[in-house]
Subunit: 330 residues, 2 copies
C-alpha cells in the first residue's frame, strides 16, 4: 500500500511557489523497534512553516532539509505500534509533516483525547494555542485593567490571545486586515475594538480605541501597524514578538522603530518561538483544554481537503485570505 | 550675598547652543522649615541632560520648565539647615541643578561620606555608577563565561559596565570612538577587546572579537555600531538599552533593526532610565562604594572649572571629546 507526502525540494525565493515542493508516492513503511506508524487525519498549516523552508541556519529551529518531508504539525491515529506509550488506536498529535502516514519514535508525540473535534484541537490546543498561551502568560503577564493590542487578531494565534486577555479582564484591541474579520472579533469574540490596518485613518482609529495608551502588545505581523502601535505604548509596556508575517516574504525585512522609544518608555520587548517551550506542551494543553471546556475560547477553522492542496493552501496565510485556522483534512 | 545659576530659557533645536541658557545672578535664599541650603562644590554633566531639555512630555521624567534652573546632579555641603536629616556640614548629593547654591527639602538628597574624592563619587557612585549597576545586575543579569559588549565603553557608564562584567568573569568587548579610548579600555581597565567604531573594518574586528557571538549588549549610543552588534547576538541574548547618544541630536532618530532577529534569536530588549530606580540609590551606592574600596573600579574624570563653562561643556559629550566623567568644579 502506498501514501503521499510533500517533499521540500527547493528553498523559496520570496513567495512560496508550487515548484519548491514535490508530492511523492511511497510504500507505507513498517515501524522499527520503539517506533509507531501514524495515519494522519488532519494537517496544520502555520505561518512558521515559511521560516522552516528557508536556509537560515541561525534561526530557532533547523531548516527542513531539501528532499525531506515538509515539517508541519498534525493529528492522526496510531495504526501500528512498537512503542507501548502509543498503542494502536491512540490519537496523537505532533510535528509529523505534510504527509498521509508518518513513522515516529515517540519523541515530540503527544496522545490527545478522542472526544474533541480535530478542528478544535488544531485551532486551540495545538501550535496556535500553546503559542498564544505562552505569549500571554509567560511573556506579557497581563493584569486586569490593562490595555492589550494584538495584530493578526483574527488569525489562529491572535484570536486566542485576545480572548484570553478578555477573560483576564483586560481591554482588548485587535488589528486585522478586513472589515469582516474585525466584525468577527468584536461581535463573536468580544474584543473591545477591532481596527482594519488597511483603513486610511488607521492611526486615528487606534488613538480613539486606546485612550489610556497600550500596556501590552502581542506582535504577529510587523508591517504598517507596528510603528503607530509602538508610538502608543505606555511606560513599562511589554511587547511579545511572536511573528512578522508581513516581512517573511520580503527580500529585506522592514526596520524596526527607533530604540529611543524603548528608553523613554522603558519598554521590554521579547521574542519567542515555541520549540524552546515544547516541554511545556502537556501543561499548556491541559490549561487550554480546560478553557475550551468552559467555552472560554471560540475558534473558526478554514478546512482544505486533500494533501494535494496543502502546498497552495499555505499561501492563504500570507495573503490574509484564510478565514480561520488553516487545516488540511486528509 | 549672591550666586550664579544656569536657567534653561529655550528648548534646543538639535544641538545644544549657548543661547538656550541664561546665567543669572541672584541673592542666596534662606531655607524654609524642613529645607536646607546647599553650597555646591561639583556638578555632573551627563548625556541624559539632553533629554531633560527637550519638550517631550512623554519621556520618563518631566522636561525642565523654561526659566527653571537646568537639572543636573551634583555634590555640595549643607550650609544652612532646617532639616535634622541634613545637618550643617553634611556632604550631600542629588539633582540640585546647574547652580552654585540650591535649596532642597531633602527629597532625593543623599548624605555621602566625606572621605571619598568628589571625582570618585560623581564618576562611580553617582548617576554613572548606579546606571551601570542597575543595567548590569538588574537588566542584563550576567553569568560568568558569557560575552558582553558595551558601546560608549570609555564613557562614564560604559567603563563601569565593562569592569563590573570583567569582575564577574565575562569576556568583555568595548566599542569606543578613538584609538586612545580603546587603548585605555584594554590596557588600563582590562577589557578583553576594544574596537573603534570609526574603523572601516569595524564589522570584521567585531566578528573576530566575538567568536562565540554576543550574549549581552549594553547599548549607550545607537549609531553605526548597533546593527552589526545586533547581528551577532546569540539565541536568548539580552540587550539593555540605556542611551542612544548618536540619536539625541538628530531631527529623526535612526530606525532600529528589524524585529525578525528578535524572534529568530528570542532576544529580550529592555529600556531603562534611573529615575524609576532612585529609591535603590542607597543600596546601589553601598555596593559601588564597596567595589571602589576594593579597587575593582577604575575611573577617569574630565574636570572643567567654573559654572560659566558648564553649558559649553555639555557638548563635549555629544562630540565624544570628553576623556572621562565630565565634572564641573565650582
Amino acid at each position: 500500500m502506498s501514501y503521499h507526502s510533500v517533499k521540500l525540494i527547493k528553498r523559496p525565493e520570496l513567495e512560496i511557489t508550487e515548484d519548491i515542493f514535490n508530492i511523492v508516492t511511497q510504500d507505507i513503511p513498517t515501524p522499527a523497534e520503539g517506533e509507531v506508524l501514524v495515519k494522519l487525519s488532519h494537517l496544520s498549516l502555520d505561518p512558521a512553516m515559511r521560516g522552516w523552508m528557508s536556509a537560515d541556519e541561525n534561526s530557532y529551529i533547523a531548516p527542513v532539509k531539501l528532499g525531506d518531508t515538509m515539517r508541519a504539525s498534525g493529528i492522526g491515529e496510531v495504526v501500528k505500534s512498537n512503542n507501548e506509550r502509543f498503542p494502536v488506536g491512540a490519537r496523537v498529535m505532533g510535528l509529523m509533516g505534510l504527509t498521509e502516514y508518518a513513522i515516529s519514535d515517540g519523541n515530540g508525540l503527544n496522545v490527545i483525547p478522542k472526544e474533541l473535534p480535530a478542528e478544535a484541537i488544531l485551532s486551540v490546543i495545538a501550535l496556535p494555542g500553546i503559542t498564544a498561551y505562552h505569549g500571554v502568560f509567560e511573556v506579557l503577564k497581563p493584569e486586569a485593567g490593562q490595555t492589550l493590542i494584538v495584530t493578526a487578531a483574527a488569525g489562529s494565534v491572535g484570536s486566542l490571545v485576545g480572548q484570553m486577555a478578555k477573560n483576564l479582564g483586560l481591554t482588548v484591541v485587535g488589528v486585522a486586515g478586513s472589515d469582516e474579520k474585525c466584525q468577527w472579533l468584536t461581535k463573536e469574540l468580544g474584543f473591545d475594538h477591532a481596527i482594519n490596518y488597511k483603513d486610511a485613518d488607521f492611526v486615528e482609529q487606534l488613538t480613539q480605541a486606546t485612550p489610556n495608551g497600550i500596556d501590552l502588545f502581542f506582535e504577529n505581523t510587523g508591517g504598517l501597524a507596528q510603528g503607530p502601535i509602538f508610538e502608543r505604548m505606555n511606560p513599562h509596556g511589554r511587547i511579545a514578538v511572536c511573528g512578522l508575517i508581513a516581512d517573511y516574504q520580503k527580500a529585506e525585512p522592514a526596520p524596526g522603530p527607533s530604540w529611543v522609544g524603548i528608553i523613554k518608555r522603558r519598554l521590554t520587548i521579547q521574542g519567542f518561538t515555541m520549540p524552546d517551550h515544547f516541554h511545556r506542551i502537556p501543561e499548556y494543553g491541559q490549561a487550554l483544554g480546560a478553557m475550551l471546556g468552559k467555552g472560554e475560547l471560540k475558534y473558526r477553522a478554514h478546512v482544505i481537503e486533500g494533501i494535494e492542496n496543502a502546498t497552495s493552501g499555505i499561501n492563504l496565510l500570507f495573503d490574509g485570505k484564510n478565514t480561520g485556522k488553516l487545516i488540511v483534512k486528509l
